[in-house]
Symmetry: D2
Subunit: 296 residues, 4 copies
């Protein structure tokens, strides 16, 4: 039975120089993380530029992820879209492609009431016929999936397995766990505290850059070694120095740039309107990454 816990990097979607999906680079990203001991992946999600991909790209990504991960890591494929029909079609494809689970942001852009959100998840879950993860990402979707709303989804959607919680409401993690949901924290900075109140692991873009810093938290936690877990969390947190808000660094640009250097391949620029790192931003990132030993 598939185990949904531990470290699930939210991987980028590498592009080539023309901005098209780069399948080879994508395989490299997955392999690097599998070798490092991650438990699974969150594919084409927030860090993977999700809703900027077209449907054909999403399908191609799902197929490769399923193939590379089979028997080695758990693949959770993002299928969220603005319409229910499109999300359901992507969900059906992810299942056919052999992914282990699907994940899905609530319908975005227009504000939706609870009944619409529940029905959206019901149709998507049914189309997938796979374990379904909600993706609580209020900064992008404008809806914070509360324990009350998750309960309505849980009652209506037999496929619901859990959620990624990328919301500032830390308090809700314990409530989701108490409902029997597998709750991944969406904040790599908070993996240890989140697990201490019931989170099952971490889904975020950061671990893909240095996976062993996060598997170390997982491993210390498993043995009940609080002191080692805290040291590992603090060690992992050093990476956040890459992200200087005063410089206005975009998260996708950062992930792509550092991944390219760490892996020694070109992961491409963010998809516009995302802008690549400026020369000044690049200098800050490279200097910091070198000091952290991420690359030479």
């Amino acid at each position: 039975m598939t185990v949904f816990s531990g470290i699930f990097p939210a991987v980028i979607t590498p592009m080539d120089a023309q901005g098209a999906f780069n399948p080879e680079a994508f395989r490299t990203v997955l392999e690097f993380n599998i070798q490092a001991g991650v438990d699974g992946f969150w594919i084409a999600g927030g860090s993977g530029e999700s809703v900027l991909l077209d449907d054909e790209e999403n399908r191609q990504i799902a197929a490769i992820a399923a193939e590379v991960c089979r028997g080695r890591a758990v693949s959770i494929m993002h299928v969220g879209a603005a319409t229910t029909a499109r999300a359901a079609a992507l969900a059906a494809h992810a299942a056919k492609a052999g992914c282990d689970a699907v994940c899905c942001v609530p319908p975005f852009f227009y504000r939706r009431n609870d009944a619409e959100i529940v029905e959206h998840y019901r149709v998507v879950g049914q189309a997938a016929g796979l374990p379904l993860f909600a993706y609580n990402l209020p900064s992008c979707t404008n809806v914070d999936l509360s324990p009350g709303l998750m309960q309505r989804i849980q009652e209506a959607v037999p496929q619901l397995k859990g959620l990624k919680h990328s919301s500032p409401v830390f308090n809700n993690i314990a409530a989701f766990a108490a409902m029997g949901l597998s709750c991944f924290t969406g904040s790599a900075a908070l993996m240890l505290p989140a697990m201490s109140v019931g989170a099952c692991g971490c889904v975020d873009g950061w671990p893909a850059l240095a996976p062993q810093r996060w598997t170390a938290i997982r491993d210390a936690y498993k043995t009940g070694d609080l002191d080692a877990a805290q040291k590992a969390q603090a060690h992992a947190a050093e990476l956040f120095a890459l992200y200087d808000k005063n410089l206005g660094i975009g998260f996708h640009s950062l992930l792509r740039h550092v991944s390219s250097r760490v892996l020694g391949i070109d992961c491409g620029p963010p998809r516009p309107p995302g802008l690549p790192l400026s020369a000044e931003q690049q200098r800050h990132v490279d200097t910091t990454a070198q000091a952290l030993g991420l690359y030479a």
Copy 2:
């Protein structure tokens, strides 16, 4: 020279029973409003379920709008999308199809910085080669286009002509007008007050249901008859009784239902995840609409 002022209904995108775009019903919607004396249209925008439409639908809609409006009303075609490439391609098509102008929400879902938003509009404006309207819709896009940001767009985008302001910051209307922008209020409830501080007209879904209630405001305003304008605004405002928030009525469902009854055709259900009116909601809407004389 095209005049961008007055009443521009934000029309719905009618669907057939299967949820596919209904070209005939769309023509009927446009004709009804042209006959009633509107000045132009905001096509496939917020009320038209914009980002729920696929690209082929958007192109088909642009072509019909351009054809029906030619020489009779001004067509402003919405081309906003999550990626710059998709928005630019739709913009280029709208120009080719013969629309008078394009409009575009800022890039949505991911939070964008000012440089990214400006560059997005620059590329879209260039692709269109037509007058460009920004679409300030913070409830859906999470960014409120401020006078400062509009100034940066104005400097970088020669096609920029104005904006639809669907933001609660009423104060900014005067600032936009002072910058030489054609600022349509996005709130039909506030047409008169918005014009009193410099708005050029109104773009909203409501006027499409009873256009003459809003052309009456325009006409009274033009003659400087404050008392008549206030009476007309109050008369128009009677329609908002259709929208009982306690009943959780969806705006698209409401517009589609009332349009169907007013026009005597089937404008279809909202696109899922939008839900059609419940029986209880329908009763409230029908009773209110009949009392208002919108339909029998």
Copy 3:
């Protein structure tokens, strides 16, 4: 019968060099505005540093305001406080001192539910035995008095006469007017548009600096001269150039500085933690005010 409409400057509370209330300067402020034709005053409210005053100061201010205004202008005295008991005591005193009405922010600091807010107003209204105005100031109180909540207050508080609406929800003005409430806009920038949907006038700190710019709006509006009203509103709006947000100018500091210069007296610094204008801020304000002809 007291008439609650027109221009009600929200006057500052002048201080002496030691930061104590300055009764003589306060009389000068009131006289200047009465001579200029204002209809009344909002005393010791938001612009008057309301909740920074102690109770003895509040009582002294009420007494002077009542005395100066008697038969010449309408005095609405602010009595809001964090506890119901303190607000009610100030309300009783304002009545005894001879003020025409009281106004009161909802209880602040702690978040209150509707029942607590209604009961607060009921006790304060009863203690005053005078017309009562709610003071909708969500930026300071964290509660936006909605039409629904105002209706509950209206049902429970026979003294309720109206409100000052210093909220961004412009839409609600028409709803308050429809409920029979005297609704003053709290935004001097929006006096004309607010009146066009039913506001009874304007309460704000700005008109106290140049009252005739706002009485001109009132007078044009009364005669139904839309064009003149718009010109007057635009003329009044020129004052907002004093307030350059990039310079971080505090509103109280600005009002005090400009009042001092306009009136030729020392209105004192804001009460700490408010900071006086820096030299750079003062230069900007003086240059702008001189260009506007406010003082030499």
Copy 4:
């Protein structure tokens, strides 16, 4: 040297039946918690109805707290007020009365810029001459003390020792700890996770109702027993069932009612506009508390 870590209940301010401060009941509250092994107290803070107290009450409370705590527990006295002068006077008194430290919310009601907030804390810290804790309570004060602002305060205020962090931004705890600040989480639900990223303890109203449930978290944490700490945190969390949001229970009313029953004394009603528990709310609270074994 005074140690600022562990469990610091934020105690209520008991009142008598007439709503006046009840010194005897206050002593009982402190004694109960000291006997249970708490490390110190947060006096007359958020749970103690802070800004609803008048200055004379604040001074009386400080004197009793200092006397009861001397050598037995650490007393941190709240001195926050809307004006700097009032806060500084209360701070000076707290020092004279023998309290171990003072705490202070940022200036509230009016929005303040960073310079004003820093200067406020500078004056208050100097007046106290005692360790100073900032009180980050954005739900009441409208300002979230960020790491950047805390750094400015740290540079300007030699007395600054730490803060109580009652903000949803969980992420900032690690940043505050890295700055050398003693950071108490203000959320009793999050004591363990907060300590896992560097918090020094917990300040909240809940522990005062059942202190040993929280000292058990502290004790397990000290020995590095992660499993026991998690069990203790979960056991403590059972208390939150008392607080049913659907019933609209006020936090102060809840704390007062349960304290009265637990301690067998009358802690009085909340100060108006706070409302006491309704009969229905009281039934829910009593049933839940009895099931939890808080009282019979």
